[in-house]
Symmetry: C2
């Protein structure tokens, strides 16, 4: 399921840092690897998770693979989160319940 | 890390369905279990993941444990996603690049 894969991809700090980097502009795999103390294969593995989740795309030109953020990348995840808002009036109700059950001093 | 745990918690369809249910109102563990074809221990395990991520809280009164969505639950995850927007003008630049490299017919 897309949301499963997307949220799983985001559950790792290295992968989130890669996305934060790619928001600025596309980057080669070695550019992306530079800030991290990890092997290139480990970086490639993280990128594969991001790509499988539809969060980035990549293309190889000559010997350089360039990675870019997919334009609509995080829309589905953001939309799902946005839908889970508790209506404000209900939150106030709960506050009211809480206050009315607080023992008097 | 909080975002790690939060996104991991959201990477499972059953846990997302529990959150969608709890947006309506708090529920007992057995209410939450009802729509799912899974054992009660499995449901409790999913709830533990949600609670560890700070997405829900629960309290036991007598023999009934009631679960409710944490009011600010998804704010951190939503904020992080919101920050990863590619500025619109940059997206247009990319479109421009793409158009200018499209071979003429």
């Amino acid at each position: 399921m897309t949301l499963d894969r997307m949220f799983h991809a985001l559950s790792d700090g290295t992968r989130r840092a890669m996305i934060e980097r790619l928001v600025r502009n596309p980057a080669s795999v070695s550019d992306l690897a530079r800030p991290f103390e990890m092997s290139l294969p480990a970086v490639v593995q993280h990128l594969a998770v991001l790509e499988a989740a539809g969060l980035v795309t990549s293309q190889k030109i000559g010997r350089v693979r360039t990675v870019q953020l997919a334009p609509e990348a995080l829309t589905a995840a953001g939309t799902w989160i946005g839908q889970q808002r508790i209506p404000a009036e209900r939150q106030l109700d709960r506050l009211g319940d809480l206050l009315s059950t607080t023992p008097e001093r």
